[in-house]
């Protein structure tokens, strides 16, 4: 990205090495995308067609699988739950994370770096291993088998990376910005909301993506905490759905396709932000 690709003297495109690299990348891309293509193809076939000609593209006119999923199964409800849970916890994570990051990045006070290190340590802790006490805690709070319980867990899990990303960005904003406003008599909250936060939208998008993908995809915490079918999330509901339709492969592939659709569409539209979001922290 940093240099002109077409006339790169180091790796000329016509060299044997570049041709081999191109060929291997094409092979890899086929390997990455073909299973997804087959999944979408199969969603538009009957089970018999899938077994007869698994590799053949369909004509996309057979939509019975999707109609049945919409009308007969709980998948639409799971979908709504996932949207609500992911949306709310991302919103809460962004609000709380930005507050914490702003306090840590823009003010010096005793304990500042200790609290920052505390949040950073949270990046490395596998919360999965604390699931038993978390289970008892949720039971005591009366939050077992509720969507709110999951929202709180996901919010807490998202805070370390959000604070890491937002602190890194907020520290780069020049002091002069707030000093000028302070001389003009602006209050601290006013400085934060009117001056600093409008500049912080791009890192917020990165932080939101970094938390949205694992939250949307999480299977473990719903598996432990949610029992009522009407409150299940999409990944969890999908495993129930798969159990019911084990022999109806057309339905199975259609269900998988629906589950993959939202993130895939957004990814295709904004892959650059997605890649940056998912690798933020690893790539400084």
């Amino acid at each position: 990205m940093s240099h002109a690709a077409t006339n790169d003297p180091l790796f000329p495109r016509s060299s044997a090495g570049s041709l081999i690299a191109a060929a291997l990348l094409i092979g890899n891309t086929v390997l990455m995308l073909y299973p997804i293509v087959i999944m979408v193809f199969s969603a538009f076939k009957t089970t018999a067609e899938i077994f007869d000609a698994p590799f053949a593209p369909p004509d996309f006119t057979y939509v019975e699988n999707f109609v049945r999923i919409w009308g007969e199964t709980s998948l639409p409800g799971y979908f709504v739950n996932s949207v609500v849970i992911t949306g709310t916890s991302i919103l809460l994570t962004l609000i709380l994370g930005t507050m914490g990051a702003y306090g840590l990045a823009r003010y010096s006070f005793p304990g500042n770096s200790a609290i920052f290190m505390f949040f950073l340590a949270g990046l490395m802790l596998p919360l999965k291993l604390a699931v038993i006490p978390l289970f008892l805690q949720m039971r005591d709070f009366g939050l077992l088998d509720t969507r709110l319980g999951l929202i709180l867990i996901y919010t807490a899990m998202g805070l370390p990376s959000t604070i890491f990303i937002m602190t890194g960005f907020l520290r780069t904003l020049p002091v002069e910005l707030e000093e000028a406003a302070r001389i003009d008599g602006a209050s601290e909250p006013r400085i934060m909301f009117s001056i600093m936060l409008p500049l912080s939208i791009p890192p917020m998008v990165i932080a939101a993506i970094q938390n949205a993908v694992p939250t949307w995809n999480d299977f473990f915490f719903p598996l432990v905490f949610i029992q009522t079918d009407a409150r299940k999330t999409l990944p969890q509901g999908l495993s129930v759905f798969m159990g019911e339709y084990t022999t109806d492969w057309g339905m199975l592939f259609a269900g998988l396709t629906i589950a993959a659709l939202p993130l895939t569409i957004v990814y295709i539209l904004m892959s650059r932000q997605f890649i940056r979001g998912m690798t933020a922290g690893a790539v400084k």
Binding site: I50, M99, G122, M242
Partner: protein, 310 residues
């Protein structure tokens, strides 16, 4: 008057900072730190299902490591996790490194490949698990049909149904899912290497392979620190994919049983043995946590020392 005003300003400022910091801090303490500490303390007690009994010291730990009913399963699962870690290191991280290098060279179409390689990463493990379970189906699965098509019908296998191939099949599905992550972390590491170093290496007569192994690989150690640490944490936390593809018991015959599955079964029970055992579950969780934290720290420290400042 003046000092009064200053004091009031100071207090208002402190209150404002507290208002910013305390809510996220409280969230972390309630839902991350407290549960982790509770797991540690709960492991020292006897449990009857979900009810905490008396203090038993290190008994739960001794049971899961050396006890009759537990030790064999614990160590088998541990060996499987080790296999998964090393296998993923080869097929996920090393392949990711090579793919990063191919993209770095910016051959024709590299932008498209960069997007494509990351595509599976955003899919959920449940989805990837089911997809590959269907593809690996012994009778109708795509993989066996593909082997038939290219004339290798003799290689048809019940991939997930036999002990020798089940765990490697899961490893390959995991690698398909995640290979884009190390690839893009390595790519970012390569893009930080100054061009002059690669140009000098080429002038000195390095061929592509030598440049890759002797110049690029040592210089991307910061990326290796990240990918290897995360791979280790991921491999020893592995749960979703084996659960979806091989079931809670690690079928067939426990050949895909890993610590994550064993921990979940011990804590929350399963269909065949529906007992919840929070004492031994917590002991397992604490041991896994300490092991992961210790090794991840060692990996990070060791690789940090090898990082070369650019």
């Amino acid at each position: 008057m003046q000092t009064d005003y200053r004091n009031r300003e100071k207090r208002r400022r402190a209150a404002w900072i507290a208002f910013l910091i305390l809510p996220p801090l409280a969230m972390m303490l309630t839902f991350v730190v407290w549960p982790l500490l509770s797991a540690l303390s709960a492991a020292f007690y006897r449990w009857d299902g979900m009810a905490q009994g008396e203090f038993v010291g290190l008994k739960n730990f001794a049971d899961v490591l050396f006890g009759d009913h537990f030790a064999a399963l614990t160590w088998r699962a541990f060996r499987h996790n080790l296999f998964v870690f090393f296998a993923l290191f080869v097929v996920q991280n090393s392949v990711g490194f090579l793919l990063a290098w191919f993209i770095y060279r910016e051959p024709f179409g590299f932008r498209f490949h960069r997007v494509a390689i990351f595509m599976p990463v955003i899919l959920s493990t449940v989805l990837v698990g089911f997809l590959w379970k269907l593809f690996l189906d012994p009778n109708f699965g795509l993989i066996n049909q593909l082997l038939d098509m290219v004339g290798l019908g003799g290689w048809r296998q019940p991939w997930l149904g036999q002990e020798t191939t089940a765990l490697p099949a899961l490893v390959l599905a995991n690698a398909w899912h995640w290979v884009g992550f190390p690839a893009l972390v390595y790519l970012a590491g390569m893009q930080r290497i100054p061009r002059e170093i690669l140009e000098a290496a080429k002038l000195d007569g390095c061929n592509g392979w030598q440049m890759l192994t002797r110049v690029v690989w040592p210089l991307v150690t910061p990326s290796t620190t990240i990918t290897l640490t995360l791979l280790f944490i991921g491999a020893f936390n592995w749960f979703e994919l084996p659960y979806i593809m091989a079931g809670l018991d690690g079928s067939p015959y426990g050949s895909t049983d890993v610590l994550g599955l064993y921990f979940y079964r011990t804590a929350f029970g399963n269909q065949t043995a529906g007992i919840q055992d929070f004492g031994h579950g917590n002991a397992l969780a604490v041991l896994m946590f300490l092991f992961i934290a210790a090794v991840a720290t060692v990996i990070t420290q060791y690789l940090r020392k090898r990082e070369i400042a650019l």
